[in-house]
């Protein structure tokens, strides 16, 4: 009995990785249609046949100026919208048509990002052992994960996890799962794919409805992919960041501040543009302390690099203020918000890509940070925190020894 038990323990230990999971490659993709923010009000009011609402359009221009977004990529062109007049009629059912659009567009966009990540990773797609996919854009069976198997040439035995409708924190959640899978399965190479196409959110402007203006001016389309694996096989595999810990928590009394559900006209729901930043501001330092204290990393907030989900500029401003961050600390997040808008869960992958680009190009302001953190926010309010370590810096040896 003791002998058998010991054997099982040995078998289980042998199945686990030796070291921490690491980000081995990152890929991003966007639709071809780029929309400068200063042209969007004209586009939006023209496409929705709302040019007669001149006062509302002036307000929308101001909203667009204040959101911190300079341009976005959107799958829904004027041609696509012209082909779907039902998208503008709130009393007309349009969910089926929207779902038909994202059914192929989302897997295709996800595949673009995945191909870039796989190419950077340098090993064949058939070496992917696990696939974790997250999207809010659609609700199909079989899902985006199933379609990616054939689109990418993954092996039939790849172990798939599909996350639908998890909100803006889904990208970080997918990476948390990937880390758990990689460390619990020796040799695992996990492909994470997140993709969003916001045609399900598209709606015409409504007098007196501020929320619609924010939604139409803030969200963008994009896809991000990450290859995660432990014990990189040098020299073929090169780690970018070690994932040292990952956690998820819910902020008390916050279940109503971000909601989303399927309606016959696409997505319905609510985002409290005022309460979300306040709740994040009130709780973020506790989340971060909980993440770092057990690690014994003696770093102040301004010693870290930051991958904060740029849900809005108000959220970034609140994080800045509460943690007393230097302006350069959230520069990557602000740049991604400015260049792409809020792409739901995809956005933190773009920020991570921007961070490593700055590190690689020597563009970091101030002293290069060895330790960092990813923070994302989603419905609940749910906060995902992930402690990251930049690969190739002194602590790596120590982590290897641990």
């Amino acid at each position: 009995m003791g002998s058998a038990w010991a054997n099982v323990r040995e078998i289980c230990r042998a199945q686990r990785a030796d070291g921490p999971a690491a980000v081995l490659a990152i890929g991003t993709a966007n639709p071809a249609n780029c929309v400068p923010q200063d042209e969007f009000p004209d586009f939006y009011f023209r496409a929705t046949k709302s040019d007669h609402l001149t006062g509302l359009k002036e307000k929308f221009k101001r909203v667009c100026q204040k959101l911190g977004v300079q341009k976005r990529y959107l799958h829904h062109t004027e041609e696509l919208l012209s082909a779907h007049p039902e998208f503008l009629d709130r009393s007309s059912p349009s969910l089926d048509a929207r779902l038909d659009i994202v059914k192929t567009a989302v897997p295709e966009l996800a595949a673009q990002a995945c191909r870039k990540a796989i190419a950077e990773w340098g090993r064949p797609a058939a070496d992917v052992t696990h696939l974790v996919v997250a999207t809010n854009s659609g609700a199909h069976i079989p899902g985006v994960d199933f379609q990616l198997v054939s689109l990418l040439g993954l092996r039939p035995t790849v172990r798939r996890t599909m996350l639908y409708l998890n909100g803006c924190s889904a990208g970080a959640a997918a990476l948390r799962l990937a880390r758990d899978l990689a460390e619990n399965n020796r040799g695992a190479r996990v492909l994470v794919a997140c993709a969003e196409i916001t045609v399900l959110l598209f709606d015409g402007p409504e007098e007196g409805c501020f929320q619609t203006l924010v939604n139409q001016g803030l969200f963008g389309d994009g896809a991000g992919a990450v290859v995660v694996g432990a014990d990189p096989a040098a020299p073929a595999e090169r780690p970018l960041f070690e994932i040292v810990s990952a956690a998820q928590t819910v902020i008390p009394d916050s279940e109503g501040v971000i909601t989303m559900h399927l309606t016959k006209g696409g997505y319905g729901g609510n985002i409290s543009t005022r309460q979300v930043p306040v709740l994040i501001g009130d709780h973020i330092e506790r989340c971060l302390t909980d993440a770092f204290a057990p690690l014994g990393v003696g770093a102040g907030w301004n010693d870290l690099f930051w991958d904060v989900h740029p849900g809005s500029s108000a959220i970034l401003d609140q994080v800045d203020a509460v943690l007393k961050l230097k302006p350069e600390k959230l520069a990557a997040s602000r740049r991604v918000l400015s260049e792409y808008g809020n792409m739901f869960g995809v956005t933190v992958i773009f920020v991570l890509d921007e961070l490593r680009r700055r590190m690689t190009n020597g563009e970091e302001e101030g002293a290069p940070a060895e330790w960092g953190v990813m923070v994302a926010f989603g419905p609940g309010l749910t906060v995902e925190t992930m402690v990251l370590h930049r690969s190739g810096t002194p602590a790596e040896t120590k982590l290897g020894e641990a």
Partner: protein
């Protein structure tokens, strides 16, 4: 004229002041005096603005209530006519939302130029009453 001016004043001190002026002169003389006074020497602009344009207390109170709700301010937060939106934690995007809420509540339309001049609750209340006087209420 004198009657309508008196009716639009809410602060008791302002009403007493106007009453005193009225009781000592005929309405025609009052008008003449006021114009002469303005042309001869500058009256402090804040005082003139206040006498001419101060909004009713009930308008200010309603604006306070809407602002408090839209900024999700905690109960017990003191908001008065002098409260500045920036000090209440409102950024410029919040101000757009507040103006839209006020338009809905008072059934008015605020043009962009006027909206950008609003810095305090009093500014908003004053503008609302000015707009309500200038245009008939929109009929649904």
């Amino acid at each position: 004229m004198a009657h309508s001016l008196a009716a639009s004043f809410s602060p008791a001190a302002a009403r007493r002041q106007v009453t005193n002026v009225i009781s000592s002169r005929s309405s025609v003389s009052f008008q003449s005096h006021r114009m002469t006074s303005v042309s001869i020497r500058s009256r402090p602009s804040s005082l003139r603005f206040k006498i001419c344009c101060s909004a009713k207390k009930e308008t200010v109170d309603k604006v306070c209530s809407i602002v408090k709700e839209q900024l999700a301010l905690p109960d017990g937060t003191a908001i008065t006519g002098e409260s500045k939106f920036a000090e209440l934690g409102a950024d410029s995007l919040d101000t757009v939302e507040i103006v839209m809420g006020l338009e809905e509540a008072f059934n008015i339309t605020v043009d962009e130029t006027s909206a950008q001049d609003i810095a305090t609750v009093q500014d908003a209340a004053d503008l609302i009453e000015k707009l309500m006087l200038e245009a008939p209420p929109k009929v649904v």
